[in-house]
């Protein structure tokens, strides 16, 4: 096989997600009353970027064949924290942003430590830590409220040169600064290897523990960036249980749409980003077609159900029935 065919095979999931997103976005903008304008793109980008950050966080953990059911709660917790800290003078604001990101790192590191060094199952462990993070968030913000440095918030949710949404630029920067270095580093390779076959990776002397720990920790950081952005959009902090749960759920949907294998070892955060943008656009299609918003949860649920069922097509390729049982 030629080089480009290997590349194509590796990136198939990502390209598929990109394709779905483009098709959905074209349908969306062509039916939008305002059409394809900078404003429409900015609004769509701001909504999509939130989920994109959380989906990136989920991807890092899913690659190690784990799952993080606490991402939505880290997202909420950092939102509540930011509504206290990201205020005041530029200096205070900067320190606040650093503190919020550090809190996300800490949450991720706690998850990683419990799952890897405590050897608990990721599902149960992250559901439990998610409860803790939600509790801390509720402690910080028993009622919705708080504020944020509005200059920074407006800059982050506005447009550069009146054309490019700032949130997309930040998303790109995060990809270049966090995802690309991680996925090319030894630790990133180790995370992939651990997800692909933990035993084989262990036998080959790959630092799987450190790789997985780095993945969980960075996931916390990415969820915190998402929480920060939520604060920029809403200007407030709110510990809403349903919203945290919804983001966890949607992050899994975005990851699946983005071609990341839930069994681990396959996929990329870039695919998950397009998955997230596509998922958001599909959800918003209802609005441009004037459906009752009441139908949105059902619509999103059905998309999720269909998306996860698509994976079942791999069954047709199974020659030996024993391969049903992994």
């Amino acid at each position: 096989m030629k080089d480009w065919r290997y590349w194509l095979a590796e990136q198939r999931g990502t390209l598929l997600a990109l394709g779905i997103f483009i098709v959905m976005f074209v349908i969306y903008t062509s039916n939008h009353p305002a059409g394809f304008t900078a404003n429409v793109v900015q609004t769509a980008a701001n909504k999509g970027v939130l989920l994109a950050f959380v989906a990136m966080a989920q991807t890092l953990v899913v690659i190690t064949s784990g799952i993080d059911l606490s991402v939505g709660m880290i997202f909420l917790l950092t939102n509540c924290l930011a509504s206290w800290l990201v205020v005041g003078t530029p200096m205070q604001t900067t320190l606040g942003v650093i503190a919020v990101l550090a809190a996300g790192l800490l949450c991720g590191a706690i998850n990683g430590a419990i799952v890897i060094y405590g050897r608990l199952q990721p599902i149960v462990a992250t559901i439990a830590t998610g409860a803790v993070y939600y509790g801390v968030g509720l402690l910080l913000r028993p009622f919705p409220g708080g504020s944020v440095n509005e200059d920074l918030a407006d800059a982050m949710t506005g447009r550069f040169f009146d054309l490019v949404p700032a949130s997309l630029v930040v998303l790109l920067a995060v990809v270049l600064l966090i995802w690309v270095p991680f996925s090319r580093s030894v630790l990133g390779r180790a995370a992939y290897a651990a997800g692909s076959s933990e035993t084989a990776a262990y036998m080959s002397g790959v630092p799987i523990r450190r790789g997985k720990f780095a993945a969980y920790t960075l996931a916390g950081l990415l969820a915190a960036i998402g929480g920060l952005f939520l604060t920029f959009f809403t200007y407030t902090g709110e510990a809403a249980y349903a919203s945290g749960n919804a983001y966890t759920l949607f992050s899994i949907a975005a990851v699946v749409l983005g071609g990341v294998s839930l069994f681990g070892g396959k996929g990329s955060a870039i695919g998950a980003i397009f998955g997230a943008l596509a998922f958001r656009t599909i959800g918003d299609l209802l609005f441009v077609f004037d459906f009752d918003p009441l139908w949105q949860p059902l619509f999103q649920g059905v998309i999720l159900l269909v998306a996860v069922s698509l994976g079942a097509f791999a069954l047709f390729r199974v020659r030996n029935r024993l391969e049903w049982f992994l």
């Binding site: 409860a131 899994i252 009441l294 999720l304 049982f325």
Partner: protein, 328 residues
């Protein structure tokens, strides 16, 4: 007396204690500790009325955890509990609004809706080989969407039928709440199925190694599907009982049951990887969780503190005895 009990405890203990799972013993020990801590706070904590009241509250969780246990024994998980509970409760109350026939059919209809959710889960997990965590999250979202469309985004106005209230709050035997009797019956049925039937053997077999179970001639896919259907049905039945207890259904009534039901099963010593665990442990886990919740509310702990303590306790107890073997 002291020398006979202290000397050679292990040797003299009856066989059933020596053979008991250390996890189950730990769980029961924690229950005793919680009762002692609780009695320090309030004298009435150890009174029979209070304990019966706790058992009654525990029985709702017990019914739901029974279904969850069956699924966890297979090595799967059912995250569709929140909206299976809510759908069961809402649909039962909704059916009650359709005249006398609706009132009669309310409870079966609620359970039927839960079974339906469970069957979709089961088809996804058993036949389409989708990871259970994912497909159950998806069906949970679909069930939520359906309920939101049905109720218009508000809690429904229909109220529970007399039969539902009777099951949840009535007394058939004086002094023993009906809910406790129901839990006992369901528990007994579950113990029978798990230990005395081929289906139960198959569940443990699949939990250990599905491939081996399949090669021994078990129709593993059918067993998995039935287990998910039972889990959905029991969740919905738990919802029906809850609706009877509160006399109506509410939007997010099931949210508070997902983590506790998993925690109860896992704290009771059932392996989250499947294939290992006893119903006695689940009973201990359910009572443990209920007592913990009760003590936290007696201490007038706000919701935030409750969530934190709850998560910390579950992680701590799992670290005590729920760890996977080290990779070698």
């Amino acid at each position: 007396m002291s020398e006979t009990t202290l000397g050679g405890i292990a040797g003299r203990m009856p066989k059933f204690i020596r053979r008991a799972d250390p996890a189950v013993l730990t769980a029961f020990a924690c229950i005793v500790v919680l009762l002692l801590v609780g009695s320090l706070y309030s004298r009435s904590f150890l009174s029979p009325e209070y304990l019966l009241q706790q058992l009654k509250v525990a029985s709702f969780l017990g019914v739901i955890a029974t279904g969850m246990m069956l699924v966890i024994l297979l090595g799967q998980i059912d995250l569709s509990v929140p909206w299976s509970v809510a759908a069961g409760a809402m649909m039962a109350c909704a059916a009650a609004a359709y005249g006398p026939a609706g009132v009669v059919l309310a409870i079966p209809f609620g359970i039927f809706c839960g079974v339906l959710i469970g069957v979709v889960n089961g088809i996804g997990v058993a036949y389409l080989r989708i990871p259970s965590m994912i497909i159950t999250l998806a069906t949970n979202a679909v069930a939520q969407g359906l309920m939101v469309v049905y109720t218009g985004g508000f809690s429904p106005q229909d109220s529970a039928t007399g039969a539902m209230r009777y099951l949840a709050t009535g007394f058939t035997i004086p002094g023993v709440p009906n809910a406790v009797i129901i839990w006992a019956l369901i528990g007994a049925a579950m113990v029978f199925v798990l230990t005395r039937s081929g289906f139960g053997r198959a569940v443990y077999g699949i939990g250990n190694r599905e491939r081996a179970a399949y090669l021994s001639g078990i129709d593993t896919r059918r067993v998995v599907m039935i287990a998910f259907a039972v889990s959905g049905g029991l969740s919905a039945f738990g919802g029906v009982l809850l609706a009877g207890y509160a006399s109506k259904a509410a939007q997010s009534m099931g949210d508070a049951y997902l983590l506790p039901s998993i925690a109860a099963v896992v704290l009771g010593g059932t392996s989250i990887l499947g294939g290992r665990g006893s119903y006695l442990g689940t009973v201990a886990g359910v009572i443990l969780i209920t007592l913990l919740q009760s003590i936290l509310s007696v201490m007038q702990m706000p919701e935030a503190g409750r969530q934190i303590i709850y998560g910390v306790v579950i992680v701590a107890m799992l670290l005590l005895y729920g760890r996977a073997p080290a990779s070698r």
